[in-house]
């Protein structure tokens, strides 16, 4: 089963490699993400599978918004055809396609030949799996690792998200003033899909909150729940066309939540705050609050990124 999924995965990547039209490439990317998610699940990691499913949805939506704008803006220039390659002599073809292929095969062969045998320390896995219930609590060692043992990584991941938002806001260069209210999203929609998504959107919000609150005892957690909640707001924009959230306000919330995450992690984990985290009844509270904060952080961050993309789309339409 796993190898069938992996084979299809490779096949979807080859389809992307040989496809020339941008829209089809984007759709194949969605299929690629779905197959990767199924393969992660079969490899025994439902947490990563959930995150990958949500992420591939996001990536496809971002690409579609990006491409949709250009079809409106410039017509069909975005289709890259190989018209120039026909005029060039055959030696260019060899330099362009055959030599990189040989080089890639050589590099892959070297990598596979020198791959080390036991990369992972098995004692570390045993240590985490035997001790996490006593030291951290909950039934999910993945949550225990990223909220307790390796909380540095989570902090710097949150910092990376803040940096990405700052970079996107800086590079998109459109103020909020260019966005006019009352413009409908012109994405092609059918009544059927609108009806379905209207039914699904409330369930999405409930499901996201469920994932966050149960992150420490089952698969799920702050990242996945936050992504699902951000998907709820995107669906809200796409279908109901509600664009009432202010970008600056979301940015302030995100920064405040980031500071709260840093403070809570440093007080509880680095300073070993009394024996609060060792008491069975109370230590789950730390996990739940931390998951909720990370969920809020991720949801705010990706809502901001999506709204910047929409702002570019709308701003370009206003210009043209």
């Amino acid at each position: 089963m796993l190898y069938v999924v992996l084979g299809l995965w490779i096949f979807s990547a080859l389809m992307i490699l040989f496809e020339k039209k941008n829209v089809r490439v984007t759709l194949y990317l969605g299929i690629f993400g779905l197959l990767a998610s199924i393969a992660f699940f079969l490899l025994g990691s439902p947490d990563v599978a959930m995150a990958e499913a949500a992420i591939s949805t996001f990536t496809t939506i971002f690409f579609i918004v990006c491409l949709e704008k250009y079809y409106k803006f410039e017509g069909d220039f975005i289709e890259v055809e190989d018209t120039q390659a026909e005029k060039k002599p055959k030696s260019t073809f060899v330099i362009r396609y055959i030599l990189p292929l040989l080089f890639t095969i050589f590099a892959a062969g070297l990598f596979i030949y020198f791959i080390p045998d036991n990369v992972v320390n098995p004692y570390l896995k045993e240590l985490y799996l035997t001790r996490f219930m006593d030291e951290v609590g909950g039934y999910n060692p993945v949550t225990a690792i990223y909220l307790r043992y390796r909380v540095y990584d989570t902090l710097f991941e949150a910092l990376m998200l803040v940096l990405a938002v700052v970079a996107v806001i800086h590079m998109s260069k459109f103020g909020e003033a260019t966005i006019k209210d009352g413009l409908r999203s012109e994405l092609e929609t059918s009544n059927m899909s609108v009806f379905t998504i209207r039914l699904i959107t409330p369930i999405l919000l409930v499901f996201g909150i469920f994932l966050i609150l149960n992150g420490h005892i089952s698969a799920g957690g702050g990242f996945q729940g936050g992504l699902v909640i951000a998907t709820f707001f995107i669906a809200r924009y796409m279908i109901f066309n509600i664009y009432d959230l202010k970008v600056s306000r979301i940015a302030k919330i995100e920064e405040a939540v980031f500071i709260a995450i840093a403070l809570l992690a440093s007080v509880v984990v680095f300073l070993e705050f009394a024996d609060f985290t060792h008491r069975p009844g109370y230590r789950e509270i730390y996990l739940i609050i931390m998951n909720a904060l990370i969920g809020a952080k991720v949801a705010c961050g990706f809502m901001l990124l999506f709204y910047r993309f929409v702002a570019i789309e709308r701003g370009a339409r206003d210009e043209s």
Binding site: L29, A39, G44, P100, M133, V142, I312
Partner: protein, 120 residues
């Protein structure tokens, strides 16, 4: 040299996207190959130590398991979740840069961009 089949798939995928990054002339496809490269790296880390019939490391009765070999390693999973979220933020930055370039030069072809930037 002992390679799991699942690891081999991940390595092949990594080098497919490597070849694609060298060969492609389309900016959108370059961004997509970077995404594929990330997914292949994540797949490689998760498939280390895979054996058939492996179980997810979640549940209240983990302490009573006799052999840890059939429980997946939670440590790379925790790191890969953060890697996935960072990957999406990298993707958005790349897309914004793509939008800026295509607004400037009105094309997504690397060669045409080079020609037009020399003309200016």
């Amino acid at each position: 040299m002992r390679v799991e089949l699942a690891e081999l798939f991940a390595v092949i995928m990594f080098f497919i996207s490597f070849y694609g990054l060298i060969v492609t002339r389309n900016i959108i496809k370059s961004v997509i190959f970077i995404i594929i490269m990330e997914a292949a790296a994540i797949m490689f880390f998760l498939s280390i130590g895979y054996r058939s019939g492996i179980l997810a490391p979640i549940g209240p009765n983990l302490a009573e398991v006799e052999s840890w070999a059939y429980i997946a390693d939670p440590f790379p999973q925790a790191l890969m979740i953060t890697a996935i979220v960072i990957g999406l933020s990298v993707t958005t930055i790349l897309l914004i840069m793509t939008i800026t370039i295509t607004r400037e030069y009105k094309t997504t072809d690397w060669d045409t961009i080079k020609i037009r930037s020399l003309e200016k």
